[in-house]
């Protein structure tokens, strides 16, 4: 167990319990909660756990703020889409697409990182924001290649399509390709997450944390701060690209709104901060809470807004479309008062 988690134990009974519940729930999601919508939610959680964990590698461990994480996510997703469109439906297309996506993302991160991190880390935040928006515009304009605003719908291998049956049913769940895709996403996400956990608990991760705490001192001890930061950025970018690939395989569709939009970037930020910066487990908690809230809290808010009908302004404040407002408030407050997020709280209160 210790080796699987790279020696980074949850260090809190409650946290361990929550993580175990999430793991079991995700592992058995198609059997525990059969239903198109719930399984889709579970798959989203898997993908976002990896995406948020990779962002945390940069933000929580490296102390670098990036606004281009959805760009890397999108590169991975479009990698799968383009490879599947041009190479036909097959596992080779998936492998080529994911590999190429990860490589391109890492190369792009290398270029941006060398450019901006060399001067000041704060440049990185601004430059990534500019580059990411330029890429998003480019993707929607190059409609010949990327399908523009409409995105691309493509076919994954036959074994991963709902029409593929490999048995009758187990515990009332149809054994079809959709189930296989879910487990592909789940296992892929689990492996990526454990790899990221390995990275942050390696000597490399320690140096990153040292740089985050005091980069001047780390440089004085003899670590090339720029190299470490750039390396963290590249690693994080390729992990994000792989998460994007998983997401594309799950959806069998990519489009600017689903994988490249600024809203997703803000979602990621919220997940990292609410879960807890600088802990990989924070990514799990943050992503799970957020995706669940996104799917179910909005409905709740809608009914709450119906209750206060007639009162001025209040219905608008509580309407389901305004949930981002409350999350924004929560975000600001949690940066002030709980910079270590849910996980930090749980570990303190042990």
């Amino acid at each position: 167990m210790r080796a699987v988690l790279s020696g980074d134990m949850p260090r809190s009974r409650v946290l361990a319990l929550i993580l175990a519940v999430i793991l079991v729930a995700l592992a058995l999601a198609p059997f525990l909660f059969p239903g198109v919508r719930t399984v889709d939610t579970a798959a989203r959680i898997c993908v976002f756990v990896v995406l948020v964990a990779s962002y945390d590698l940069m933000l929580g461990y490296g102390g670098i703020v990036s606004f281009a994480h959805t760009m890397f996510f999108g590169i991975g997703a479009y990698g799968i889409a383009l490879a599947s469109t041009h190479m036909g439906r097959g596992f080779d297309a998936l492998i080529v697409g994911a590999g190429a996506g990860a490589l391109v993302a890492a190369a792009l991160a290398l270029v941006i990182g060398l450019f901006s991190l060399r001067v000041r880390a704060i440049f990185f935040a601004m430059i990534t924001l500019a580059v990411a928006s330029a890429v998003a515009v480019l993707v929607s304009q190059l409609s010949g290649l990327t399908g523009g605003e409409d995105g691309l719908t493509f076919q994954t291998p036959r074994a991963l399509s709902p029409a593929f049956r490999f048995g009758d049913s187990l515990l009332g769940v149809k054994l079809n390709g959709k189930l296989l895709v879910y487990y592909l996403v789940f296992v892929g996400a689990l492996i990526l997450f454990l790899l990221l956990l390995r990275v942050v608990n390696s000597p490399f991760g320690r140096v990153l944390q040292a740089i985050r705490e005091n980069d001047f001192r780390a440089e004085a001890i003899g670590y090339r701060v720029v190299y470490y930061r750039v390396a963290a950025t590249c690693l994080s970018a390729s992990a994000a690209a792989l998460a994007g690939s998983l997401y594309a395989i799950w959806l069998r569709y990519v489009g600017p709104d689903t994988v490249l939009s600024m809203e997703i970037m803000i979602d990621i930020l919220l997940m990292v901060v609410i879960g807890g910066m600088g802990t990989m487990y924070g990514a799990v908690i943050g992503a799970t809470l957020f995706v669940l809230a996104q799917n179910y809290l909005q409905a709740l808010m809608g009914s709450a807004s119906g209750l206060v009908e007639g009162v001025p302004v209040l219905p608008q404040l509580l309407s389901a479309d305004r949930w981002l407002l409350w999350l924004g408030v929560l975000f600001v407050l949690s940066v002030y008062f709980f910079p270590t997020g849910v996980v930090g709280r749980l570990r303190q209160g042990r």
């Binding site: 500019a130 330029a134 480019l138 999350l327 924004g328 940066v335």
Partner: protein, 343 residues
């Protein structure tokens, strides 16, 4: 025992290249304009594009100047600056809509008066909002860049959502005042009147800012604060108050820029500030964080380049700005006119 060598200091004059270097960025704007002239076949379209590029640059400058000053003075990077642009635009447009009869009348004086009222309203609102923003959001996180970025981003989200709560989620279309519609023809080129107004306003703001910064006592304190804040405080000035003032002024300028930008595009949305932030960041980075002059030159470069490239190759317009930023950072990693030391 050998004799110590004679002490013979040489007072070499700095080489020409050295003396010219600080002024080089100034030459970039005319150089770009000339390059544009070479690339664009017809003189009249070049003139049209140059004026619209200058107008766009001036508006970006108005929005960006506050950000760069705030950063230079207090080392605070405000990712929520775009919120002031949006709020300014919404308040300004609301005032303009209320003054419908004044903007609808075909009299230049009445139109400009309405515009002035709208601008003052917007600047008051965003100035006050800047004060609140500084108090509630920025103050607890001084000296902590990471938290600043996160918290101001959170502030931006909240402000954007509040705009939607107050004004509704739909974009608002707004017609320019009657006398500022249309274009005048000059040397065969159609020059939109509104753009000429924007250029004039931008120049006025820049000159006023320079005047305040170079000629007044408060400007002196601000510039000294950018150079070395601790020393200014040691001399007995309450830099905090100065900073709050600069923050409010910067927010008010962003509000002014928002009104101008909204009228330029003739449509306003809650997200417009965040979209403008992309150009603002590029401008602030290539100008050199903390430098008003650098910001001005950078804004003009971005505006001109964007218009020229959009004419020659429409799809490359946004990429061209990234290219410009890359080129400038290769040349001067700290921006064209670096002011703040790398911290």
């Amino acid at each position: 025992m050998t004799q110590a060598p004679d002490h013979a200091p040489k007072m070499a004059r700095a080489s020409l290249a050295h003396r010219v270097a600080p002024w080089l960025p100034l030459a970039l704007v005319p150089v770009l304009a000339v390059l544009g002239l070479a690339a664009i076949p017809s003189l009249s379209s070049w003139l049209t594009l140059t004026i619209s590029g200058l107008a766009m640059g001036m508006m970006i400058f108005i929005m960006a100047s506050g950000l760069t000053l705030v950063f230079g003075l207090m080392d605070v990077i405000n990712f929520g600056h775009g919120a002031f642009v949006s709020v300014g635009a919404f308040v300004g447009v609301t005032v303009l809509l209320m003054l419908g009869p004044m903007t609808g009348a075909p009299s230049l004086a009445l139109n400009l008066a309405a515009l002035l009222v709208a601008v003052i309203g917007a600047m008051l609102a965003t100035g006050l909002m800047g004060w609140a923003f500084e108090r509630a959001i920025v103050r607890p996180v001084y000296g902590h860049h990471l938290k600043q970025i996160l918290v101001t981003m959170g502030g931006l989200i909240v402000a954007e959502q509040l705009i939607i709560v107050l004004w509704g989620p739909e974009e608002i279309y707004i017609a320019r005042p009657e006398a500022l519609k249309g274009a005048i023809t000059f040397a065969g080129a159609a020059l939109e009147k509104y753009r000429l107004v924007a250029v004039a306003v931008g120049l006025a703001v820049f000159l006023a800012m320079r005047l305040v910064l170079r000629r007044t006592r408060i400007g002196l304190i601000v510039r000294a604060g950018v150079q070395n804040g601790e020393m200014v405080q040691a001399l007995g000035y309450r830099l905090r108050l100065v900073f709050v003032g600069v923050f409010m002024a910067g927010s008010a300028l962003a509000g002014l820029g928002g009104v101008m930008w909204g009228l330029y595009q003739e449509v306003i949305t809650a997200q417009m500030g965040n979209q403008a932030m992309i150009l603002i960041f590029i401008v602030v980075i290539i100008g050199g964080l903390g430098s008003v002059e650098g910001c001005f030159i950078g804004a003009l470069l971005v505006g001109l380049l964007q218009n020229y490239v959009a004419f020659l190759e429409p799809k490359a317009a946004l990429i061209s700005n990234i290219g410009l930023m890359v080129a400038i950072l290769m040349w001067r990693p700290m921006g064209m006119i670096p002011v703040v030391k790398a911290k």
